[in-house]
Amino acid sequence: MLKALKGRFEQGFRTGKFPDAPPMLSDRFPGRPVLEAARCTGCGACMRTEVCPSGAVAGKDGRPEIDTGKCIFCGACAEICPEKAIGFSQEYRMAAMTRRALVVRPGEPYIPERPTNREFLRFCGRSLKIRQVSAGGCGACELDFNVLGTLAWDMGRFGIQIVASPRHADCILVTGPVSRNMLVALKKTYDAAPRPVWVIASGACAISGGLYAGSPECLGGVEEILKPDLYVPGCPPHPATLLEGMLRLMNRR
């Protein structure tokens, strides 16, 4: 017991300062893409099919838009651009409440969406119980969601908690493109949750199928069967992106 107390003392207080201070990010962290309209010559190099592995770059007249709901943040489009018109910022606040807001368009200033769902705020504004279902997720989204429960992030501070049964859940957080083999289990989990119930799609796979869109063994993301209330881009989303998104959905920041 004394050893445990000594260990506790030596480890110190380790919960990060987020959200009061911005999260510590590597200078190589690829956040929300930035399109510089002035530099783009419309050559269309970034939109060639062999560039983006998940088909996130598309647009008209050779001028791209980037769908962060598909993007895996590999940076291939930025590397191919001869004019350096595509970049990845340090902006980690990428979660959105509408699918449309995930698309980055040239020249549009970015302001994270504010919550509009009154019913959600009334039920879950101060307490959000989440049941997580991995439906073909590769493990990374799951691991970085789990991380929010550790003392480094301690999402329990905000009333966000992972629950072990859909019966206790306000919200289903889905990761993965929804593999066909998980379709029944996902539907059953959703049906087992008391109403009202909300849905979070976390990661490119869950939002759009990501890399796996088009595989005959998968659906193209959770949207094919359930309507998400929060979309969290990334492959996998950084814990700060996910936590910030949930807090914003709860109107806690």
Partner: protein, 493 residues
Amino acid sequence: MLPMKIGNGMAALWREVPVCEMAEFRAWLREISETERRRIAAFFAVPDDEQFRLVAVAEDAGGCGFALCSVRVCRVYPALSGEIAALQKFERLIAERDGLVPEGHPYLQPVRRLREDEDGRGFLAERGAAVHDVAVGPVHAGVIEPGHFRFECVGEKVHSLEIALGYQHRGIEAMLAGGPDEKTLHLMETADGSSSIAVATAYARLIEALSGIAVPAETVTLRAIALELERIANHVGDLGALAGDVAFLPTASFCGRIRGEYLNMTAELCGNRFGRNFILPGGTRFGLDAARAGKILDWLRRVKRDLDGALKLFFDSPTVLDRLENTGRVSRETALHLGAVGPAARASGVARDARCDFGWSEYAPYAACECVTEETGDVLARARVRLRELEFSHRFLDAALAEAVRRPIEAVRCDSGIFPAADSIAVSAVEGWRGEHIHVALTDSRGYFEVYRMVDPSLRNWEMLGMALRGEEISNFPICNKSFNLSYCGHDL
């Protein structure tokens, strides 16, 4: 009959893979499966006119790497699994994927398809007054991937545990055929998201072998730095989770935080906490300059002190040791029989580690490779293997990063494009944190993948968990499961 020899990360012409008689093939495989220093790495079917070729890739530790041999079979052939248990899952995969019928297979259940119905028909069933089934999953209570576990219990004891997976099947191997293309590397990285660096490295080595690309030694070291960071992060996470499962909360909370530090070090290296988009065929996306290497080195040393404290507390507690000792034992004989690999095999006294067995040159200048083994094969042994491997990984990183401070590593890329040789076969093995990842690719006449097989360590280890549970109480399942911490998606692909 002489099997073809091929080194780790080397390519050869497909037509040079020998075809032998079934009796010889069978005897050869049996001999391999019974030898500790050798093992069956991959086993798959390739369509061949009206028939099929069954190709076996065996590893020969201390030898030259891999030995390849094949046999021609018709659609129906006598199963090999009856006498060579390590082949059972490979034969089931061949039956599922290629439609072959291994006649007399003792357990011909689907691997990545779901069983006919979910009411339990299709599972092993026992009869008797005290017998009952406990069905768990596919969705589990925590934040974890899906899989179905079916315990046949006699009274309080688990008599057998049947593991039915496939829920994570995304069809990766089918998507890889016709590659490499812009997706291939990223499919690799997400095949098992917790081993992105290991899998991407195995893929990169394979492509380099097929395309004849030579990578500088510094780049290879840089990849090993990333790989060891991945190993440490996951081992720390596993030890913390084990602490959580025996309700030893101090270490559980400390390790949860400390694991994140290693992930952040990986992000410092390449921007992503899982090392995504870092390893490229022909190089790495980023280099490692002196300032960055120094920053990571200081960080590593600081965190190591916290880690030592957290783990010492855990391994010094009699209540913890009592809970882990003699729980979930797998004998050395069973581990060998099943063809187990990685820390789980090493905990049962089977000395298999691709880092040592294939003489990885990248480790040699910094730390002598040691294959850490334990004898008891219980949960404690699996925890101790991780504990001791952490020491090696830190020693290596300390030396390799200190060298990078003196001599920065440049990013190297293959800009001229990648052109795999036609009609060739290549094999590569990388020791990830769960064990060795084996990749085998066969190219067509234009150099595209005709067959790409990834053998995740979990594919070879899941049966071990079933064996560990025999005779245990069901309440020991969480710590047994965590002591293996196998991948669902790596298995299901």
